[in-house]
Symmetry: none
DNA sequence: AACAGGATAACATATTTATGCGGTTGATAC
DNA sequence: GTATCAACCGCATAAATATGTTATCCTGTT
């Protein structure tokens, strides 16, 4: 018997989920709450197997609730529910120890399947979420994107830009005239397809040129 | 009609997959190969929707094959097949642009479901793989830098700076006067302890404010 | 020898940014 | 009720940046 707690501020959805799950053999909703205010006490008291946690709740939101639970309990499986496959939230949730991330529009049978998967150690995710996770993943470690083939000198200049140096300071650091610095920077902008210092800096970070 | 290519060195499994898929309405195996030696040509010639790619193959392995395909084709969906949910391979595959990662022991109906999911832009993963991905993800970066307690508005402005907007553009995007933008930015500089746009951008990246 | 390209440099000009000062409004806290 | 603070706005000025054009020197390639 899989025992669940539900956190969901919308009364209709809360009731709907409870009925759906209680109406299915092998599942039981221990309790359903409309906010996370005393989530730690509740989890300690009920000792559920799985928790369904809405992300968008007034007061303490789902992410914060998730974090609080994880501070005292690493075992219970937590499935996050959300309306949007919002980039920032996904990242927050999974790096805070969620076991799955499911859109609210997921059909009932699929949801039950996800709950089972979570309980048995899986990490169920709506497909669109999984795609996002993969994207984040591949964007984070990719060893350098394009090359832009900057010359050595141009790379040095860009390095100084990233460290916040002004043209004047770069000129003095590199023992060249400020006009030469300008020339280099103009070339850099061409190669990076940007037209301001801060864009160049941003691109340097994004594409791990530095 | 979903058109597939299969790369799998084991003859039994290759035949089995082909028959399974060809025997299902809406799916068609264009061809099945036992290695990746001329994978790029084949993909160009057949123009499949989805590719099933075994990871462990003699000669050019599945990861390498994946990379070669991705160099010339970013569109085709590629599902990796493997026996083990091996940490290193998973990481390699997803950061090289795989669309899904499926264990060979996946039951046939589930596999067909995964193919459909992949084709429609999802990222199907066996539960155990998904768990691994999440673990890798959360083990990675967790600590956020200082807070700097920027106000909401200041965060928005900083966001625009990072995206390379000029004061003028920010003013127009945020429907405020350019002088107000200046005010916000001055405050941001104070809080971040910097004194130029590019320093602020660099700090935003380093400290993951954005 | 001719050529391409990187590094250097100068000059001019328009735009953007940084910084100083001042101010009003509205919401929240004490 | 007044103190605080975010958000809003204006004006002025100096500094920095962006852009264009031009030119020399050197090195490696064809």
């Amino acid at each position: 018997m899989t025992k669940l707690l539900i956190y969901e501020d919308n009364p209709q959805l809360r009731e709907g989920l409870t009925m759906l799950i209680n109406g299915t053999d092998g599942f039981e909703v221990l309790a359903a709450f409309k906010n996370c205010n005393t989530v730690v006490d509740e989890v300690n008291a009920w000792k559920p197997d799985v928790i369904l946690m809405d992300i968008d709740m007034p007061g303490i939101n789902g992410i914060e609730g998730l974090k609080r639970i994880r501070q005292v309990n690493a075992e219970v499986k937590i499935l996050m529910l959300t309306v949007f496959d919002d980039n920032k939230n996904v990242f927050q949730a999974i790096s805070s120890g969620a076991n799955g991330y499911v859109l609210k529009k997921t059909p009932p049978t699929k949801l039950l399947e996800y709950i089972t998967e979570a309980q048995s150690g899986g990490a169920p995710m709506t497909a669109s979420i999984a795609t996002q996770v993969l994207k984040m993943f591949s964007s984070m470690n990719n060893e350098k994107g394009e090359d832009y083939n900057l010359s050595d000198r141009e790379k040095q200049v860009l390095q100084f830009l990233v460290e916040g140096y002004s043209y004047k300071m770069i000129a003095s650091e590199m023992f060249i005239a400020i006009d030469t610095v300008r020339s280099h920077i103009k070339k850099i902008y061409e190669k990076l397809h940007v037209n301001s210092k801060s864009e160049a800096v941003a691109k340097a970070f994004k594409d791990k040129i530095v």
